[in-house]
Symmetry: C2
Subunit: 383 residues, 2 copies
């Protein structure tokens, strides 16, 4: 079954010879996305501690995420619809991808119950009861106004026994069929295209992952996603699963590895053929004083930065990194000043966007693997 | 006794005929300040939730405050000195006024004990013991790098009996003498002028206030301040005390009313001859969702703003007020998102700066009182 043709387009501009890495461009009605790309997470209609103009001008984000579970509960669909979708609500003008709400239902909601029909749960905010089904999460994401709508899936925990992983994956596939049908039966809400991405599951079992990759690829949708990784398994296992499915996923569709990860994870998975990433790590860790830099990871709370009056990162082209000093940021984080969260979030997101942009350059110029191996040594160490 | 001539200069450009309001300019080595002016409070080397470039470009702040008590305890003088003063530490390039630390010692510190020598207290952060004296608070403020150093005073609470108020005021006067002597014996720290402002005390007793005004005016310092108001007394009493002392303070020195206040308070006190104000209200109340606007006070948490997709304030020239909508800000504040505090703080500070700028325009154009009375009706009402 095919979903009707939408306007999203993906072209691969360069492929690395020594790896599966590729540089491409996704065209959407809200503009172009250069891949590989990192997508800042804007959970509740805001990338935490970051203004919209900072996302555009300092971080140079090309696409952001919204969380369906959060947005559905608060502010709710009525207001988002009235605002003309999430773009109208928060003022972000470039593409938005929404998750399906599944992951948050499993991790945040109370009294959840998974059946073939969908998931019933209680809001973590007010205890109210709700149900998410493959059909209504498509409708909800259409109403939120996502450029990229994610299929409803069950994200299995780690570890997960084989039988549960298999049954869950099969249900996720049946849910995908229902999502795709719903997409076909409904129209984009606000005059721009809305694409559905299916999600591969199968825990850490290569045969399940391959089966899932083949199944979802068969839908020939605008892109393909890998879910259920970065949930506690060792990185090597994440890479193994990613490699196994990337070999099976079509070359001419963008591949999105959900919820990943550290700078090292991102570089390794770009080499395996991933084009899109998202993760709360740069913003969440920023609020706790962890800074990612091209030279390594800084815990700004450490005594060693106390008198360091050098800029946070003089070479990173954004206001926060080359205006404020490490000692000043340390003071703010230790004093629990809001500005500390603002500066560290801006810096980390700018670093993540810089990282994928640099990767793209190296893929195009043909020296990606050398650069990647060198960068991984740097970015993973604590300094 | 006179403190040696510093470079600060104040010129009155226009005086209102129907009130004591005046429009002036303070020249400092860090640039000009148009009066009347509102000074955003930057307690711990940061105006909470606001970037330095936002203070400059959006709020168009001309001078900010630093709190000596906070800065002395954290990050401490050693680091501030190493950074070349507070300007070097946080990157703010325009003038800074520091309070003397007295007010915070009385309101925040533990086990404080006031003697003729000074005040001993325990840090609210780590319980460490410290002493503030008229001499060392001058030294501390010089090290912080204040353009305007405030004299050490005792800020009496409200209510305060006459005898205590009198004795306290007399001690504040003796402390002023010691501050002025210390200023004379020491040099500016970083190559720019540092001016001392004395503080009038005397609680709500007109005879004490007048006595205090005459005493401090006798020092012929670069400006004069009124302390011990806005501490719980009725507004009418604040106005009465302000009026009583403004009649006695020299015309050709800027007058600073400390810790004031609501937009209404500010407008009334401009009419009484005040040139400088500071208050945490615009930022603190912003974080709780209270917005000041030219049309009145908004509690953005109220249900009535839930679906209001109009801009926060389309006419106020700053990013936050005319990019984000009321409904979006309400969602952020209710969801306790950091961006909510950022937007509301930017908006409120921009409003306060707009208010004093408008007042200045009206003083110059000669219709201040009519405008002021009209504005007070608007800005004080809850909408």
């Amino acid at each position: 079954m095919r979903v009707k043709k939408l306007n999203m387009n993906f072209s691969v501009e360069a492929s690395d010879i020594k790896s599966r890495a590729r540089a491409g461009t996704i065209s959407t009605d809200h503009g172009q996305i250069d891949t590989p790309i990192f997508m800042p997470v804007g959970t509740a209609a805001t990338v935490k501690a970051v203004h919209i103009r900072e996302l555009e001008d300092d971080i140079k984000a090309q696409i952001i995420l919204g969380n369906t579970y959060h947005l559905y509960l608060r502010p709710g669909l009525e207001l988002i619809e009235q605002a003309g979708g999430l773009h109208g609500f928060n003022g972000w003008r470039r593409p938005i991808l929404t998750d399906s709400g599944g992951y948050q239902v499993y991790s945040l909601a109370d009294n959840r119950k998974i059946t073939e029909e969908g998931v019933t749960f209680q809001s973590h905010i007010d205890g109210s009861r709700h149900i998410f089904t493959p059909e209504n999460v498509v409708d909800i994401q259409r109403t939120i106004g996502a450029d990229i709508v994610m299929a409803f899936d069950e994200c299995t925990p780690y570890p997960c026994d084989y039988d549960y992983a298999k049954r869950s994956m099969e249900m996720t596939h049946r849910w995908l069929k229902r999502c795709a049908e719903r997409m076909n039966q409904t129209e984009p809400r606000y005059g721009y295209a809305q694409s559905l991405f299916p999600i591969i599951q199968g825990s850490v079992y290569p045969d399940l992952r391959k089966k899932s990759a083949e199944t979802i690829a068969g839908y020939d949708l605008d892109g393909n996603a890998i879910g259920g990784l970065s949930v506690g398994e060792p990185s090597e296992m994440m890479y193994e699963m990613t490699e196994a499915v990337c070999e099976l996923l079509p070359m001419h569709k963008p591949r999105y590895l959900m919820g990943v990860g550290t700078p090292e994870n991102i570089l390794e998975c770009i080499a395996l053929g991933i084009d899109m990433f998202d993760c709360v790590m740069p913003t969440r860790n920023a609020r706790n004083g962890m800074l990612f830099t091209p030279e390594g990871i800084i815990n700004i709370k450490n005594e060693k930065w106390k008198n360091d009056l050098s800029l946070i990162d003089a070479n990173l082209e954004n206001y926060a990194s080359n205006f404020y000093t490490k000692a000043y940021l340390r003071h703010l984080i230790i004093s629990k000043e809001i500005l500390g969260a603002q500066i560290a979030s801006l810096h980390n997101l700018a670093f993540y966007l810089w990282l994928v942009k640099e990767a793209r350059k190296r893929i195009i110029s043909g020296n990606f693997i050398t650069w990647k191996n060198d960068m991984i040594n740097k970015v993973s160490k604590r300094i």
